[in-house]
Amino acid sequence: MTRYILRRILLAILLLVLVSALSYFLFTVLPDADPAQLGAGQQSPTFLGYMKEIFLHFNFGYSYRYHQSVLSLIVDRLPATLSLIVGAGLLSVALSIPVGVITATRRGQRFDRIAMGTALGIVSMPVFWLGLILLYLFASDIGKIPILPGANSYAGLTADPGQWFKSLILPWLMLGATAAAIYSSLLRTRMLEVMGEDYVLSARAKGVPEPRVIWRHGAGAAIPAVVPVLGLEIGGLIGAVVLTEVVFRINGVGLLSYEAIHHSDFPTVQGTVLFVTMLLVIVRLIVDIVYAYLDPRVSFA
């Protein structure tokens, strides 16, 4: 087990280095524009210089607009993004597990068809559009049925907990429903496979009552199997997070990069992309390690 973890950590470190290298290539070498135009003037243009700045000095760039280092900008905005992600994540887990398991056990029946149909609809619509429609309908300042705080109403958790919570309800719903749409159908697929496995038949043959067969034997095997896919999908959902922040004007990392684009603050854009990607690598590493504990067979390989 420890060898497995060590190997994963080493691979992650290698990936971090390669990611920086690729971002150097994509953002500095590839564009035809000359660096001064991009506003990346102060950043050392050589490859080695670039890598040194990031790994030795944790310098992700300097924003001329805000007169701050990009890293400090990110750190300032991280709590907002985290509030959004954690809340939406919890909501999506709470939704997808029951929906995924129940639709699998009632395959083809009404609940399954409605749930999967809704999931398909949610996954097919642009998340930013959904957000705008929700605001249009429910935002307290401009909505038709003003019941929830609108965009731009985010307040920090420590500053105003009540407002923090209320302003995040709509964004959480939006993100959470989107994520749940994806996870529940993945879980459903996996669950259908698992329920056909021999250990489920064995459990029934032992006389285990059906609900326990479904949850302890079935879902118990299906849910861990979906976890590594989480690692892949998280990357995709970052996009949704960025869009949510933009729509609801939540002062997080996503909104930071959006504003940076519109103010030609290229170092911030570049630095943010790199930083978030590196963070993702670390998150996926943690997910892999957690998964190894859930499914001991993995570390055997």
Binding site: E197, K206, D295, P296
Partner: protein, 370 residues
């Protein structure tokens, strides 16, 4: 003959699919005596597994239908609802499912799976159940049970996993054990150990066993009685010695052809059964075996044979349209070196037989020696 432990009467299992009705099990009947072993042999798709699943009401899919009677302990299992059947499963009748590779839950420890089997049926404390689990592991010959009880299935060897599954099956002292392909995929030495274990347990615990396999040779090592299944039906049924002494059905002959030590008299083995298993939706007309039978006559395409007792042997039945003397001659011919083609001609020479026109008068069949 004492009261049978299990009496299956005219069991039928069908599945409703988009492509038609699958006749997985088509009216089979057998009995199992307490403490004795019945072997069920046949190729994939013959209905062996499905018929056993039907005993416990575990046939897969909502569109399956089970008919017939399954008498066990004075009750008809086929008529019981799921709640009552659950009490039988894992306690009075235990089943070890096919493909032991994945029959143990990969994410639960072996001990936990054993304990679960115990505590579902009896109200015992967790520690008492754990003690019993360790005893069971020892009973089935797993060394170092105190450590192994906390192992995950993938940490055990294939042979040990089978033993663990036997332990789970025995957890509540069943009277009948159904072992489906228990030794498939194991090395020969391990296979022999598992079989020896089963026999030992059978003696000690007065355990009746239904042993399902594709390998007639294997089954013969443990079975007292054998039922040969083909396309959902029993085509021959007899005590094990009779199957060897005078097998009656051409399919049985084909199965026996794969047992090397039977063929000492010859330099080579007789040809195996050619062709693929028949579709269970659209079964061949008449005798379901006729497309693959080297000795089929035209009339066999129209008449469906019933399972009938063989003359003079009340425990031996067969479903075949050839008459008994002819079968005997063909079998003895096969045993002493004749090929299928040669023996086929025996049939063609019979007056009034509707053999294929190409059959010219054939040379005399080789002498059927001892």
């Amino acid at each position: 003959m004492s009261e049978p432990l299990l009496s299956v009467e005219n069991l039928r299992v069908t599945f409703d699919t988009d492509r038609g009705v699958v006749h997985a099990v088509d009216g089979i009947s057998y009995t199992v005596q307490p403490g004795r072993t019945l072997g069920i042999v046949g190729e994939s798709g013959a209905g062996k597994t499905v018929s056993s699943l039907a005993l416990l009401g575990l046939t897969p899919g909502p569109r399956s239908r089970t008919d017939g009677r399954i008498m066990f302990g004075g009750e008809d299992l086929a008529a019981l609802d799921d709640a009552k059947l659950r009490r039988v499963r894992g306690s009075d009748i235990a089943m070890i499912v096919q493909d032991p590779q994945s029959a143990l839950h990969p994410l639960h420890r072996v001990g936990a799976q054993l304990i679960e089997a115990i505590r579902i049926h009896r109200a015992v404390s967790a520690s008492a159940a754990r003690d019993r689990a360790i005893d069971l592991l020892e009973l089935v010959g797993i060394a170092d049970p105190h450590r192994r009880v906390d192992a995950y299935p993938h940490e055990l060897s294939a042979g040990m996993r089978r033993r663990a599954m036997i332990a789970i099956a025995l957890a509540n002292g069943p009277k009948l054990l159904i072992a489906d392909e228990l030794t498939a995929g194991l090395e020969v030495t391990v296979q022999a150990q598992i079989l020896a274990l089963l026999e030992d347990l059978q003696e000690r615990l007065e355990l009746a066993i239904i042993f399902i396999s594709r390998d007639l040779g294997l089954v013969s090592e443990i079975a007292d009685e054998v039922a040969v299944m083909y396309a959902g039906r029993i085509v021959e049924q007899a005590p094990i010695e009779r199957i060897y002494a005078s097998p009656q059905h051409p399919y049985t002959w084909g199965l026996l052809a794969s047992i090397p030590w039977l063929w000492r008299l010859r330099d080579d083995e007789p040809a195996p059964i050619s062709g693929l298993p028949p579709s269970l939706i659209d079964r061949p007309s008449g005798c379901h075996f006729h497309p693959r039978c080297p000795y089929a006559l035209d009339s066999h395409k129209r008449i469906d044979p019933r399972l009938r007792p063989v003359d003079g042997e009340d425990q031996h039945s067969v479903a075949c349209l050839l008459d008994a003397p002819m079968r005997k001659r063909i079998w003895e011919g096969l045993r002493s070196g004749g090929t299928q083609q040669e023996l086929r001609k025996l049939l063609d020479r019979k007056p009034g037989s509707e053999a294929t026109p190409a059959a010219a008068p054939a040379p005399p069949a080789p002498e059927a020696g001892p």
